[in-house]
Subunit: 138 residues, 3 copies
């Protein structure tokens, strides 16, 4: 069995934004030499997500408005913010969008459907945060 | 290490519906010959989900009503639909229900709790769409 | 390839609560002898979740209030409860929080970001329920 572990770092300049990280993940899979296996991609921070959807700017604006409706930023709403934080909303938004994706690796490639792209979803940005990519297989 | 890759195709006749795909996934695991490992099952389209829950028709009606409340179909609500699509809601419903499940394979079987069943969740149906099943292990 | 399968049992005394199960999962990884691989942790019941977030009591109170708002317990709201159950809400709350997490194992440890902790999320408690931990790798 082969395995590889990589850590990607992102600094997003807005509080909330989505970054297409598919090229970085593809490169990590290529370097791993794994032909058949699984690739885990997860946010290492608990106010961020990794998810798969469409790279379409209108959709991303829709997601931001929808997440703001489901879990508004307003710091006064969250008991968590009594700790001195102001990111209670980000811990909620991340649960909607998910922590991780697992993608099949087939013949050395991420085995994607027609429009699948991997995104880093930031909900408490403006500081460096990490994503882990683990590939196992043979 | 053994691995197997299968693609299942589903055409759901409604815009939104849930299909129990457990037998097809079980058959794929059996054919893989894997006794101990992991089985990834994911929607390959970004307006569909794979999830695990109960095969109970009342619950499925509840899910449909709830998802329609959280992300109504009304095409005028979504910037994404300015691209000519009318499925903005489906991209949102899929984030709630999830893209994928990973199930343990133990002694050659999907290692399920008492009521776990795997569903394909369609949110923009009436055309053929694919699910990937990847099994790795030994 | 090595693999290990463990079943953890939890009885939560409230209908809804969150239990930090990180030490139990860490112990399972240690016993598996896997140095590089993947660790799947999933609820085996469909009214419960496994998720990763912060071990902060205020946040957990926020999650409970938010989930109650998104999917209120009121048994009369759910067609599922016509089967004689009163846990329709729990099947919805579990979809928001998720069924499973997959965590990288690196140098024999769960490869966590700074605040990641694994929680069992119970939404229909007061009876024993199980969590599966599957570790594969080498």
């Amino acid at each position: 069995m082969k395995s590889s572990t990589s850590y990607l770092t992102f600094q997003v300049e807005n509080r909330m934004d989505f970054v297409n990280i598919t090229p970085e993940v593809q490169e990590t899979v290529r370097e791993s030499g794994v032909r058949e296996g699984l690739c885990l991609v997860n946010a290492m921070h608990i106010t961020a997500s990794v998810f798969i959807n469409d790279d379409e700017p209108g959709l991303h604006e829709d997601y931001k408005a929808w997440l703001e409706q489901l879990a508004p930023h307003d710091p006064s709403r969250y008991r968590h913010n009594r700790t001195g934080e102001d990111n209670g909303d980000a811990h909620h938004k991340r649960q909607i969008m998910g922590r991780e994706v697992v993608v099949a690796v087939t013949r050395g490639q991420l085995d994607f459907g027609p429009w699948e792209q991997i995104f880093y979803g930031e909900f408490d940005g403006r500081r460096p945060k990490r994503v882990l990519v683990k590939v196992i297989g043979e």
